[in-house]
Amino acid sequence: MQDNILIEMKGVQKWYGGYQALRDVNLTVRKGEKIVLCGPSGSGKSTLIRCINRLEAIQQGSIVVNGHRLDDSIKAIDVVRQDVGMVFQSFNLFPHMTVLQNCMLAPIRARRIGKSEAEAIARKYLERVRIGDQAEKYPAQLSGGQQQRVAIARALCMQPKVMLFDEPTSALDPEMVKEVLDTMIGLANDGMTMICVTHEMGFARQVADRVIFMAEGQIIEEGAPDAFFRNPQHARTRQFLGEILAHH
């Protein structure tokens, strides 16, 4: 059982100056688990996942990823980032490189594998997100949905153990949301461990093993999607769900 734990956060506290962004966050993620993080803006959900790959430093508590304790050492950060892939709201593709080069760079530089092998891996994952025919194009030549799928493929090329999604569909036009969600559903069905910050409650219902609700830097409530949506325990959760479900 212990072996199956991929991420373990214990008593995590984070401040931005005098502002506390995370308050005593405890979270355990098992291998293959799909977790959806939701909550109002400023509730700390993005900050939480950004701590997992050390884009943000924490001031108290501990984070262990795949058995490696994350501290301030470059070595520890390195090891953890090799295991953790991330997809951003604003895609963050490298605009001066083609789609293929975007996907090949990290395996070559960080995993030190050969060019031809890196290209084979890149093409495999671009195929998997159904964008193989756009490999020679530059990001600016693609639609938002296509760019986000490339970003997913780029992260997969590092063959991570867990994927973090930071509001991956929030910057997309409505007609492109589905293609990105479908890609993520495919990934989930293949058994990838995922933590998704998203407001897509349909996606949460369909793939999440657990839905976690955050407010003011704290985990307020968590549960299986069915129970979470049907019978939320806290007033704060009910209010939030009422607000976002009213839009859908």
Binding site: L55, R81, N92, R109, A151
Partner: protein, 218 residues
């Protein structure tokens, strides 16, 4: 009787032009190399190093170039290091250019969206790869119009080298003008030479700027 402005005088100006171009080239290439180091140190994330680089930039931006040339030429001579006029001004201009280009590129590096660095970090790329593969290629693009603008300033600025006795284009013009008593004609030719050198660069720079503005709209 004073000689008229003729072929020999024109040839003398051309040699001055050659020295101006050579000095510009040396200062620009040297300044780019050292300026890149300055820009990288200025943005390396280490507070102490960034602070020292900031002072370096501040000193060379905050004092007259003329003064800096004096220090290199006469100041070093006092310590027993007697430099050839060209070597002295080349050093002076190179160091000065490194500060200005360093500051231009510092701004360009910081203008590359934060998300680019974050994506690179999330992919496990180290600082050197993040800089070389992600940040610098984009920063150079961003900085190109300002860099070309600085090059134009540098070409014209090399006329200051005359102050320590180095005969570049402006000084050559002064000499010819004194000999021929035809200042209007001589300085007209000198001005035209500077213009031919600088104008295409300025034009290229503003075209770059327009293209970049267009690209950022997409």
């Amino acid at each position: 009787m004073a000689p008229h402005f003729g072929l020999p005088e024109f040839g003398f100006l051309l040699r001055g032009l050659q020295w101006t171009m050579l000095l510009t080239l040396v200062a620009f290439v040297g300044g780019c190399t050292a300026g890149l180091a300055v820009a990288l140190l200025r943005t390396c994330g280490h507070k102490g190093v960034e602070w020292i680089t900031r002072i370096y930039i501040g000193i060379f931006q905050g004092t007259p170039l003329l003064l800096q040339l004096f220090v290199v030429y006469y100041g070093l001579a006092l310590t027993g290091l007697k430099l050839d006029a060209f070597v002295a001004v080349a050093i002076g201009f190179t160091v000065n250019a490194s500060a200005f280009l360093g500051e231009i590129w510092r701004g360009a590096i910081q203008a590359v969206p934060r998300g680019q660095t974050e994506a690179a970090m999330a992919l496990g790329l180290h600082h050197s790869s993040r800089m070389r593969d992600i940040v610098l290629p984009q920063a150079i693009r961003i900085s190109l119009p300002a860099t070309i603008g600085y090059l134009v300033q540098l070409i014209k600025g090399t006329s200051l080298a005359a102050i320590v006795g180095f005969i570049e284009l402006a000084r050559a013009g002064q000499i010819v003008s004194n000999q021929t008593f035809q200042p209007l004609l001589v300085f007209g030719v000198v001005g035209a030479m500077y213009f031919i050198l600088c104008w295409p660069l300025s034009w290229w720079g503003s075209r770059m700027e327009a293209r970049l503005a267009l690209a950022s709209q997409r």
